[in-house]
């Protein structure tokens, strides 16, 4: 289980009289295995900032993030990196493919680290689940935004993570693919018992949610 306790992130930026502001302030939440949590909120409200802090990619100014017994930001870089590789998968906002690798190699990438041999079959299965297996040998430059998005989701799924965090995973997708991606992510929670967090503006996403959080000017609250 992933827990955040009073995490904040402050940035130095002139706002009004103060020269700093909080992108996220004192957020606490728990992501439970087998459940889908959806985080909504207006643009600039701090959703991405929170998601990065939850995934061990951004050091909070205050607060802690726990994965089971491990305090993520108390770990050294090596241990945290390993943990990100094995247990926390992230679908970041925007493009996230390595341009010099094929789509399939991108999906396999996490399984190649730390001496892994790479699981081609599993990677292809994840791509198939999102309807992009026919693009396995294509280069990222040859893919559309929506296709890249689905490749990124496939990469996250292929990590078989305990926690899966997706930042607007359906942003570039049409209705049909949105439904496909959301149901795949939901079944990752329901069938494989992963803890899933989706950041989404999409009202459609809320229909898949077990819990809904809302971010408002850096403050997190539960419920729509």
């Amino acid at each position: 289980m992933l827990r955040a306790e009073g995490v904040s992130r402050m940035y130095m930026r002139k706002t009004g009289q103060a020269n700093h502001f909080y992108a996220v302030k004192g957020a606490s939440l728990a992501l439970v295995p087998g459940q889908v949590a959806v985080l909504t909120g207006r643009s600039g409200s701090g959703k991405t900032t929170l998601l990065h802090m939850l995934s061990g990619l951004l050091t909070p100014t205050e607060g802690h993030v726990w994965l089971d017994d491990a305090d993520l930001y108390a770990l050294d870089d090596k241990a945290l990196s390993r943990l990100r590789n094995g247990r926390i998968a992230v679908v970041p906002q925007g493009r996230s493919a390595i341009d010099t690798l094929t789509a399939l190699e991108n999906v396999m990438l996490p399984s190649l680290l730390y001496g892994g041999a790479g699981d081609r079959a599993a990677a292809l299965a994840c791509m198939a689940a999102l309807g992009v297996e026919h693009l396995a040998n294509a280069r990222p430059a040859e893919l559309s935004g929506g296709e890249l998005r689905r490749v990124a989701i496939a990469r996250a799924l292929s990590q078989s993570p305990d926690v899966l965090l997706a930042d607007e995973p359906t942003g570039d997708l049409d209705d049909e693919n949105t439904a496909l991606a959301l149901s795949v992510l939901q079944s990752a929670a329901k069938r494989q018992g992963r803890a899933v967090l989706l950041v989404s503006h999409d009202t459609e996403a809320v229909r898949y949610a077990d819990r809904v959080y809302r971010m408002d000017g850096g403050t997190l609250s539960e419920g729509q």
């Binding site: 990196s81 390993r82 996230s96």
Partner: protein
Amino acid sequence: MKMRQLPLKNLLGRPGRTAALVLLTAFLALSVFGGSVVVRSLRSGLDSLQARLGADIIVLPASAESKVSFKDLLLQGTAGAFYMDASALDRVREVEGVEIAAPQTFLASLKADCCAVKVQVIGIDPDVDFTVKPWIDRSYSQGLDDMAVAVGCRVTADVGESLKIYDRYTHVVAKLAETGTGLDTAVYCNMDTMKALLAAAEEKGVSHKITSDDSDLISAVYVKVKDGYDVGLVNNRLNGHVRKATAVKARSMFTDVSDSLTGISRTVTLLIGAIWTLAFIILVIAFAMMAAERRREFAVLRLVGVSRRGLCGLILTESALCSLAGGALGVALAALAVFPFTTLIETRLGLPYLAPSIGAALLLAAGTLLLTLLVGALASAWAAWRLSRTDPGTTLREGT
């Protein structure tokens, strides 16, 4: 695919950028390898010349041109024709402080059938010679019999062949090791052979006589000074005692060559230094730009679990691959530019030039590669360090 292949894939996946980095390092390697080979060759050319000379003092005929012509003979192998009476040798030996005095006689061949150019025939006295003899001994230890000759490495006649000089057949018994000096085109024989050749030249109408009588002729006397005697002092004594001859200290004979060599080395070193400073700055900028352009790519690698160290390793591996490829290319280009043109460089510079042996050249090449590797690593280290310090989350937010 293996993780190990990622750096190579990255390089091959962006051929333009990789080619630019490789060419830049190739340029570095070319300058340092080519430059040091040339400088080294000049150095060892001069060293070899001085070793070949091996004497403390050279006594030459007192004519105005004999010293210049002696130097040209050693440096460029041009023929010298200056003589003095053999009695000068006895006079030299009378001087206090002279340990050994070894005569040499020079004779320029006509266009011999062996060679496209005239060769210089040098007669030595094997019993007392201490400069050329040890060198000949290294290739041939039986001594020079009558009509036997040892040839410099650039004379196109091989051991066992015969060489026709003024219609006399001599046979080649030894081919000497390269010196990079004018001596490489010379032919060595003993004094009796030389006498016969001088007589043969006479028959052909090439006269070397300096007096009407038939006294023996010598061109130079190589003097070794006894331990404990001052070379300058002995030199002065020789000048006073031996008539119609000039004694020259061997050390002062090539000071001008040595000086110009030091000048050349300094210029080359400065040039290489300037090239490296410039190229290093360009490399640092190139890596910094590359790092900026690839920030997102690197953040994604961190996202899927690559550690800071892993990321630095990846960047350094890419730079090392570029350096190795560029270094090898540069060394190869330099080798192609320098080694085949050894003779051209030598004649152009008019200086002794002794190219390094294969072993030494390989060592230089290895050193060059190591240096380019180091520079590449240094240039990318800063970029790698900066990249690995920022939170990937911060980078991932940019430009989305």
